[in-house]
Amino acid sequence: MTNQKNGISRRSFLKGSVAAGAALSAPALWVQGAYAGGHGFRNDPTNKATVTLGFNVPQTGAYADEGADELRAFKLAVKHLNGEGDGGMMQTMKPMNLKGNGILGKKVDFVTGDTQTKSDAARASAKRMIEKDGVIMFSGGSSSGVAIAVQALAQEMGTIFMAGLTHSNDTTGKDRRRYGFRHFFNAHMSGAALAPVLQAEYGDERQVYHLTADYTWGWSQEESIQKATAAQANWKTVNAVRTPLGAGDFSQYITPVLNSGADTLVLNHYGKDMVNSLTQAVQFGLLDKQVNGKDFQVVVPLFSRLMAQGAGESIKGIIGSTGWNWSLQDAGSQAFTKSFGQEYGFPPSQAAHTCYCQTLLYADAVERAGTFDPVQVIKALEDHEFEGMGNGPSLYRGADHQVFKNVLVVRGNQNPSSQFDLLSVVDIVDREQVTYSPDLYAGDLGPYKV
């Protein structure tokens, strides 16, 4: 027990010790401040031989497949930037200011991190990159929740974030940030591109049941698809059920669909979730049913080849939209698919495509700005027109940092010629058709200087 005899001077001793400890640690402050001090912007690489980029992707969890492919694309982009390999899209992108000698003559280095598809883990990982590894830009994604969380961090830290796979309207809508940029398309564009095709294929007046991943992306896609199909073909929503991310088993959610009176099921799922829910929907025999005198149909608004690979047979005939597919015939897509294939032995996914493009677009913007200063780089990216990157003429809109480009409507291939030839392109929807006003999803970018 406490010995009171000794306690007289103890309290003051304790106080003193705290002060002493603070004094002891004071030198540490100055040491730390010394090598980071006197800067115009964070992690200025001007006095270093290399420049470091951070690639923050999900390596575990429901989106791990996408994350792995994103990482491959990032590594390939770094190779091309450093003048190794065949250069990929650097041969086709216009305008092109990259010289194949790194960025502004500095060799490109990179660090990686695992977002675990969790906001906290993603932010911790991004902070490590910024604070410890000194990255000048970081990228990555898969999951809009994560993208939005790290994009807010990017703004706080003053480090540019080039979003990878994120499809929610919020990323460049209500949660847009000055330091965040998105090349990937979004749920609104999916709706706008899909609605006419769905009307032509499946007719008007359908009763729709939505199963939706319960987070920002799922909500925004559900809303966009509902709006677009209601306006285009007068489709009505019977029910919209939210399912937890990474649920694994969807049978409890699919059984009620059978008796709901719905004749169409829209799966607002992605990654392994979509593979599981679609496979189970097909196993439950939904596609063989007739409801309201119509054949039952399943729609997966956001598609990727990786998911098609996972879903196997189930994907055949299913319609959805996608940002890019390796089978596109333009020079940019071909060049990228070729060098990705040579490197890894299989074609890239849309996630890989967007991450590769983002890295090149950032590097190109730095070259055009002539500095790594994020304020100048942001200005170089805003309202930048480019082409030759697989989606036709594209625009990085300055008002919300969203790229506007062509969107693909695809269908699961009935007779695939190879294990990768899983999606056939139904329609390439022109950028004009998917463009919307930046005020539709109002948000505030925030200041240039933080």
């Binding site: 010995n3 000794n6 306690g7 400890g21 730390q32 906001s119 906290d120 911790a124 604070e131 703004q155």
Partner: protein
Amino acid sequence: MAKSTITPRSDLILFLGFTAVVLLMPLWLQPFGAAYPDLMQKFAIFGLFAIGFNILFGQTGYLSFGHAAFIGVGSYATVWVFKLMTMNVIPAMIFGVLVSGVFALVIGFVCLRRTGIYFSILTLALAQMSYNLAYSVLTPITNGETGLQLTTKDPRFLDTAMEAGSGIPPTNVFGIEMSAWDGLFGFYFCAVFLILGFYISIRITRSSFGSMLRGIKTNQTRMMYTGLNTKPYKLAAFVISGMYAGLAGSLMAAVDPLAGAERMQWTASGEVVLMTILGGIGTLVGPVIGAAVIKYAENIFSAIDKSVLVELFSFMPDVIGSGLAAVTSLFVGKGWHLTLGILFMLVVIYLPGGIMEGIERIKRRLFGKDHASNDA
């Protein structure tokens, strides 16, 4: 246990040593590649969380499997004060700790009616329920999976009365931003709370209240037979422990103004149990060490990939080097859980008292039996 060696003097030395080690982190963590603000903040925050958890688990023996719920509640409460009132962290943190304290009172009142595994399961169930509520049902309050974030449109009526700037103002302590001194201010801010929390935990452990708690752990039935009502003591310990967790959650929000539901998930609750067991149950410093080890593994090990290893082993002959790299790469990067699992198993099997027991054993080897087990 050889209690004879515990004196106020030894506690004082322990406290001073702890203080010095914590405050000098930016220096001595440098060679480990861990001396960057975010990770050091995590050490301090999770250290605090584990100390609080240990007051309940280590002292009373009640194993709560839902402690992360208090972290989450503390974070949400704190971020809401940021959104509505002011970006000054002090009022927000006070509110966060109070709310989690009230929440702990409610949860504790329900769960402490049972003991042992039933108590653990009850806390787990309630925490997982809170997680699911935060994740979907309470989306208007918690913003679901995306997490509660600040926006430029937040009212912040105390701040906007003073100044109208563009963008989201940073969190601060009366004007000193958390990111000041290259982020080290945020760390020292957390460190002060860690040291304070550590001091309080020493005082609780050495108090008669502390002996009462240990009495509950040793034999609750006997205590009740002597006519003591143990419930207020248990509940007090639970609430104190919950408030520690709430403080940890508030600090998380203070250094990084965002609150996400995954902070409340059962894996997060399990993590603090691991931290405590790894470091040493019932010891004062153990939980902090455990927290540091786990956070270090999570942030540093997970970032090592094969190319780093190949470089590391490049001094060896090519065949051996690449072989070693291939084998060790299984244990880093996304395999860091594997490393942690093995470490945990080794500790539990060979050092049931955690890392602290290992340190004690080494001490005994070096100084002979006199310095045996001083419960630190």
